[in-house]
């Protein structure tokens, strides 16, 4: 019984910022455009550990959105951005079901943005990669035996490593350039 109030108190502390629909709409729109630009990016690199797999670049976007703009933007940019990117037939590096891990990590990043420093939140990308791999296994796109091989795990860790660096660098640059004036 004494645990409940503490849990409720913690749950109340972790919450979304006050909604600002106009601002959030524009942020989500810009992020969807960035998703589409990345879907058309020509400077793609293949994962050196997983043959034939193009490096997953989108997953950084919902985490950055959550860290900088809050949980609503993180969630909706993850969902709608993934839907928009999956409609691009050219590359098809992402499926419609990817909106689940993207939305989840965007939401979590936004919920904890005022409680946990952003370099630590960047590690959410590992959770995103694990969720995405799990969904691929459930849908039959990937077999469990392949997912448990050393090369595959190294490949996922490599992508996560690049993603963590990207998130920390981009969120720092954004705060330096665009949040400075609000101080």
């Amino acid at each position: 019984m004494p645990r409940r109030p503490r849990l409720l108190k913690k749950a109340k502390e972790i919450s979304c910022d006050r909604p600002d629909p106009k601002r959030d709409f524009y942020h989500v729109l810009i992020l969807i455009i960035i998703y589409l630009l990345l879907a058309n990016a020509k400077s793609l690199k293949f994962n050196p550990f997983i043959p034939g797999r193009i490096m997953e670049t989108y997953m950084v976007l919902p985490v950055i959105a959550g860290i900088l703009f809050g949980c609503r933007v993180g969630l909706f940019s993850g969902i709608f951005g993934t839907i928009a990117a999956s409609l691009i037939p050219k590359l098809n590096t992402t499926g419609l079901y990817d909106m689940i891990p993207h939305g989840i990590i965007g939401l979590i990043a936004g919920l904890y943005k005022n409680k946990i420093p952003s370099p630590i939140l960047a590690f959410l990308i590992i959770i995103g990669q694990v969720l995405k791999t799990g969904i691929d296994i459930v849908l039959g796109n990937l077999s469990l035996s392949v997912a448990l091989t050393q090369n595959f795990i190294l490949g996922i860790m490599y992508e996560s490593f690049i993603g963590i660096i990207t998130i920390i660098v981009i969120s720092s640059i954004y705060r330096l350039g665009f949040e400075e004036r609000r101080k």
Partner: protein, 354 residues
């Protein structure tokens, strides 16, 4: 505004201060590589100090104290060192690819211009300005300027490795001792004015350099992202170059845009066009958002005066003069203003009658 004093002694001292400052800067510009290294070192120190202050505020906001904040701080420090070396290493290897591409191609930019762009240029412009001869001269000038910059980078890096770590040590470990030693030299009656001059100068220069560094980083990042999307070879090094050259007022964005446009045109005219669009977007964000909000409010220089200073700086000292025109003006302005006020106080004090 109060009328200026007619006391001759005050104006003699002001003239002497102007001469001393001019001699100081003339000597500094004579030893250009060391002076530039010193300026880069100071800019890096300012950036580091801002990052440390910002880090402290954020750790207070997150309620991260003690060992947690220390561990995270050191992790971030090594992270940024790794990112800088990783970026430099990747940039150098991409730079080699880019120069190899340029040397392997059997067409020059002038030939690409004649083949792909010339047909779209109105005849009036072609006859007066954009004829093949002028484009060839421009190509030669840009390549030689970039070659000069690249060849001097080695000297600056060598000076930087020697001087900048010592500057960091002196600033962060012995700043208070140095300030105390300087104050011991200054006569007591000038202490108040000296402190005010030093604080004002430090604040103004800090705001100016922070704004310029931030502007360069943001423009460079937008260019890197745009060039990455386009698939431009050497996107990282070209984006960083465009950002770094943005420090030079007015000319810098143009010089920074030329190498990626040249390399884009060598690939295809569509790529060249996309590069131009990327550069225009980056400069639009810089001029309509960053400069009004970041520089104009903080650095108190009239825009027209700023343009005149930059042109004078360009005439006297070239590119370095353009970059340092406004900071040098700020130093002159603050030192002369504070000196004048102190001298007026001293020399127009009513004499005590017996």
């Amino acid at each position: 505004m109060a009328a200026l004093t007619a006391n001759v002694k005050v104006w003699r001292f002001i003239a002497a201060i102007i001469v001393l400052l001019t001699v100081f800067f003339t000597i500094a510009f004579y030893f250009k590589p060391i002076f530039i290294t010193f300026i880069v070192g100071m800019a890096m120190i300012l950036l580091t100090e801002s990052m440390i202050r910002d880090y402290g505020k954020r750790m207070d906001k997150y309620n991260f104290r003690g060992w947690k904040a220390t561990v995270l701080g050191y992790s971030l420090f090594f992270f940024w060192i790794f990112v800088i070396f990783f970026t430099l290493g990747t940039s150098l290897s991409e730079f080699k690819d880019v120069t190899q591409t340029l040397s392997e191609t059997d067409r020059s930019v002038t030939q690409v211009y004649v083949d792909k762009i010339d047909n779209y240029i109105p005849n009036l412009l072609k006859e007066r300005f954009m004829n093949e001869e002028n484009i060839q001269k421009a190509e030669g000038t840009v390549i030689s300027t970039l070659s000069t910059i690249v060849s001097q980078i080695g000297i600056f890096v060598f000076n930087g490795i020697l001087i900048i770590p010592i500057m960091f040590f002196m600033y962060f470990k012995r700043k208070d001792d140095i300030i105390k030693q300087v104050f011991d030299i200054v006569p007591n009656k000038f202490h108040e004015g000296f402190i005010k001059a030093v604080n004002d100068t430090a604040m103004q220069l800090h705001d100016f350099f922070m704004a310029k560094i931030t502007e360069s980083i943001v423009v460079g990042s937008i260019c890197c992202f745009g060039f990455y999307i386009i698939g431009l070879k050497g996107w990282l090094v070209l984006g960083l170059l465009a950002g770094a050259l943005n420090i030079v007022p007015y000319l810098g964005p143009i010089i920074g845009a030329i190498p990626p446009i040249m390399i884009g045109l060598l690939d295809s005219s569509t790529t060249g066009l996309y590069v131009i669009v990327t550069v225009v977007i980056a400069q639009a964000i810089d001029n309509f958002y960053l400069i009004p909000f970041m520089i104009t409010g903080k650095v108190k220089v009239d825009p027209l005066l700023g343009i005149v200073l930059i042109l004078v700086g360009a005439k006297i000292y070239g590119v370095l003069g353009m970059v340092l025109a406004i900071p040098i003006y700020l130093i002159y302005k603050i030192i002369l203003r504070e000196s004048y006020q102190e001298l007026v106080k001293i020399y127009t004090r009513p004499r005590k009658t017996k």
